[in-house]
Amino acid sequence: MKPLEDELRNALKRREPPPGFSGRVMARVEQLAEDRVRIAAKPAPRRAPWLPSSWFGRRVSVSFGAVAALAAVVLLAIGVAVWQQHRIVQERREGEAARAQLIEALRLTSSKLNHVRTKVRSVTDDGALDHAPNRHRSSSEFPFDGPQSVALPAA
C-alpha cells in the first residue's frame, strides 16, 4: 500500500512527446526566422518629407500611404459636402420657378374668371337668361332610377 502522493507521482510521471516533435518545432522556428528576415528586408514605408518628425516632443512617423489615404478621405468628404450644397441650391431654384409658374397660372385664371363674371352679370342684367331653354334629362342617360331599383339578395 503506497501513499496517495506516490501513486500520484506514478500517474503523473513525465511522458515523451510523439516522435519527431523537436523536428516539427524546429520547422516552425525556421519558418518564423524566415518570416522575420522577410519582414526585416521589406523597405520601411517612405516618410512624407513635409510633415514634422516630432509632434509635441513625440516622435511621429507618417508614411506617404497614410497621408494619401487621409487626403483621399478629406477630398471625398469635401466632394460630398459640395455636391449636397449644389443639390440644395438647385432644388430651391426649381421650387422658386414652380412657384412663379403657379402664381402666373392663378393670375391668368383669376383674370379669366373676372372676364366670365362680367359677361354673366351683363347677360343677367339684360334678362336673357330667363329665355334660356331648360335642358331635361332623358331616361336613356340614366338607365336606373336610383339605388332602390337594385334587387338585394335574399338573406
Binding site: 500500500m1 501513499p3 501513486e7 500520484l8 500517474a11 512527446p17 510523439p18
Partner: protein
C-alpha cells in the same frame, strides 16, 4: 557533474539567443518531455498537448533575449505552458470551473493492478477543475514546492496551499469510493 550540465545549458542558451538554431534544438530536446507532459496531463489529449508544447517553444524562441538563466528558462516554460493550456481549454469551452466535489468518478472495475490504478488516478486528476489540476500536476509531476507553484501560476501562496490540500483530499476520497475500501488514509 551538475555544474557541467549547467555550464552546457548556459552555453546553449547563449548560442540560441545569438541565433544558433542547433543550440535551440538542443534546448527543445532537453525540455520537451517536461513541457509536453504538463500539457498532456492537463488537457488529456496528446494531439492538443503537442500543439501547446510547440507553441510554448515558439514563444521561448521569440523571447530568448529575455531569458536570464537556464533555471529562469525552465520556470518561464512552465508558466507559458500553463497559460497556453488554460487558453486552449477556454477556447474549447471546457474551462468552466466545477466544484471539486462534483468531479466525476471513473467506473469501478474488477482489476486493481497498478497500471489500472494509475489510469484511474490520471482520469481523476484530469477531471479536477483547471487550477487545482495544474497545481497537482506541478506538485507531483514536476516536484515543485508550493512557492514555486504559486510563482508559476501567478497566484498567492495561500491559494496554492489550500487548493492543493483540497484537491488531494478530494482525490483521496473519490479514489477510496471507487476502490470500495479505505485504502488511502488521510496524511
Amino acid at each position: 557533474m551538475k555544474d557541467q550540465t549547467r555550464e552546457s545549458q548556459n552555453a546553449a542558451l547563449a548560442r540560441a539567443a545569438a541565433g544558433d538554431t542547433a543550440a535551440f534544438e538542443e534546448i527543445v530536446r532537453a525540455h520537451q518531455s517536461m513541457v509536453f507532459s504538463v500539457a498532456c496531463h492537463f488537457l488529456r489529449d496528446p494531439g492538443r498537448a503537442e500543439e501547446i508544447a510547440q507553441e510554448a517553444f515558439l514563444r521561448l524562441y521569440q523571447n530568448l533575449d529575455r531569458i536570464e538563466s537556464p533555471e529562469h528558462m525552465v520556470q518561464w516554460l512552465r508558466k507559458v505552458t500553463w497559460r497556453c493550456a488554460i487558453d486552449e481549454l477556454r477556447r474549447a469551452g471546457r474551462g468552466k470551473e466545477t466544484p471539486l466535489e462534483d468531479v466525476a468518478e471513473p467506473a469501478a472495475q474488477e482489476r486493481r493492478g497498478d497500471v489500472l490504478l494509475e489510469g484511474r488516478l490520471w482520469k481523476l486528476v484530469g477531471s479536477l477543475p483547471p487550477r487545482a489540476r495544474m497545481m497537482v500536476i506541478l506538485r507531483y509531476q514536476e516536484d515543485l514546492d508550493l512557492a514555486e507553484i504559486a510563482k508559476t501560476m501567478d497566484v498567492p501562496l495561500n491559494t496554492v496551499k489550500s487548493g492543493l490540500a483540497r484537491a488531494v483530499g478530494v482525490l483521496r476520497q473519490k479514489l477510496n469510493r471507487v476502490l470500495g475500501e479505505v485504502k488511502y488514509e488521510t496524511a
